[in-house]
Amino acid sequence: MARSISYREAINEALDQEMARDPRVVVFGEDNVGGTGSPGEMDAWGGVLGVTKGLYGKHPGRVMDTPISESAFIGAAIGAATGGLRPVAELMFIDFMGVCFDQIFNQAAKFRYMFGGKAVTPVVIRTMWGAGLRAAAQHSQSLLPVFTHIPGLKVAAPSNPYDAKGLLIAAIRDDDPVIFAEHKMLYEMTGEVPEESYVIPFGEANLVREGADVTIVAIGRMVNTATEAAAELAGAGIEAEIIDPRTTSPLDLDTILESVENTGRLVVVDESNPRCSLASDIGASVAQEAFGSLRAPIQLVTGPHTPVPFADSLEDLFIPDAQKVINAVKTAVEWKK
């Protein structure tokens, strides 16, 4: 039975159900319980934004607080995964991943290949991404392109509660390392989510909206921005098809290509910085594979090539909004050769 719950609750429920189903699943990170080693209440935090709250009581001994040392506990998670557990480690902000790139890029992502397929690394690294929280340049980046670039990693970026639960369960059951990127501006979003467990396969895009005039590919929070833009465009007689890839690695390019073959126009909306981004990658792939179908230049709507600004007004300008998407769509639709 589906009922309406938040993105945060959907993630919590996925962790809870997988811990109940599989004793190998363990959860840890900074303040994932909250209170270890100090007097007072245990389970005080449940992570910095409360996503893991309540799991400690249900699964004692399997939810742990870690020291503020990402390189140590991400390394521990990867080691535990190769040793037979299925750890879900929370690395608070994706911006902090830099201190454990060796563990992630050079160890976790490589084991399956360098040990001839004999080693699997079923680790999930949950992390928050994206701008909008007034958290300045070191807590607001996207960085999904960095992880998408590395063969051996899988990258999921759910845009709604239903996808968050199904993709996280898929991530936990997957034998490869997964970067599970939770957009920090979506935790309060609510939507219908089944109570039962379910798996959304990686590499299967969601067709969010059907339309014949333009294909909009949008990632994470930008799916909502694209939906807002599409509603306004419909009023102007332009029907946009919206595709949410859900996972950037693997990427469901087939669904995107099929759509572009119908619409002849592509707009990619991604809040990452523009250089070597998801937008440029998807744009290049479509140009290569479906050039003959294109009736207008591919439009990319991204943040500018700057750090995310701290001033509210500048941060708002940095993040692609519905008006920028509408402008890009109109540029594509009105294009004359």
């Binding site: 039975m1 089944p194 379910y198 798996v199 396969p201 067709l207 909206r209 087939d254 669904t255 099929e258």
Partner: protein, 365 residues
Amino acid sequence: MADERIQKVTMPKWGLSMKTGKVIEWFVAEGDTIVKGDDLADIETEKIAGTLESPREGLLRRIVAETGVELPVGATLAVVAPSDVADEEIESVVAEALAQLASGELGGDDEPAPRIAEIDGRSISYITLGEADGDPVVLVHGFGGDKNSWLFVQQPLSESHTVHALDLPGHGQSGKDVGDGSLDTLASTVLGFLDEVGAGRAHLVGHSLGGAVVAAVAARAPDRVASLTLLAPAGFGQDADAEYLRGFAAASSRRELKPLLGRLFADESQVTRQLVDDLLKYKRLDGVAEALRVLLGTLLDGDRQAIDTPALLAGVPAPVIVVWGGADRILPVPEGVKLSRVDAGHMLHMEAAGDVLRHIQSAVG
């Protein structure tokens, strides 16, 4: 107090989740005389488009709902009244209806919620509409379907009967364990359900696999069955689109599933984005893939149908009617069987709901 000869046509509720709908096109005009069953309008919901057949008869005095405007379930679409009812009275009924719409009190959450019965150790989800005495009607869906597939049928039937629609094991919101998945196991579930709802006897209506299931119920417990209505039932003849059945069970993505679903309908435009999404959401649930795999073994022997439904019906005293969509591509219309054809594909109770409803009504009285 308004003249009681003034009758309203309201936005129907097609299925549990329907909250609003839009009139896409009116087929009648003010001043037309309409009879029950006339096509009044095409209505589109988030999930499905369908034709509203008139639940009223008389002179169509006013069309209230403009096309393309989203309206809640229960909103007044049109007003029917004899010609001698004064225009002012019609206007006051329309004004009242518009005030009710503006108040936002329509489309509230007074809808019946699905209930759960524990049968043979499985949780079976069902929904009951109607409160009439007498033998109830039980609707049993087909392979991969669920109780919501009766969206066009259950509500109108509930005006004269208590109507239960259940999710078979492995389907909808029921438990996903199907055991051996045999027809006997599925029939036990339906018999257990009759006990659960206190029905000594019931009118059984089954679609596709559900048709074979209700036939098996009648074979096992003939005294529990008041009538059987079989809609494109499994087990008549051996032909079947085995590729569809296996493909449906195996498909895990929109790109695999959507082309297959087109084969269910005569008019493939019935396969909306939402229909595909809903089926994918069902198929992703833990246990569903295994349930469908097991049930395939009940339906198919190689590429042929494995069930023999006429054999099950041989000793059944209850009246049996068989209805088939003339354009069925999943289970082709069998030769030499007494049946009624309707203009539809395999999903006849969705595609030709009005005709199917009349056949069911003729069976259940």
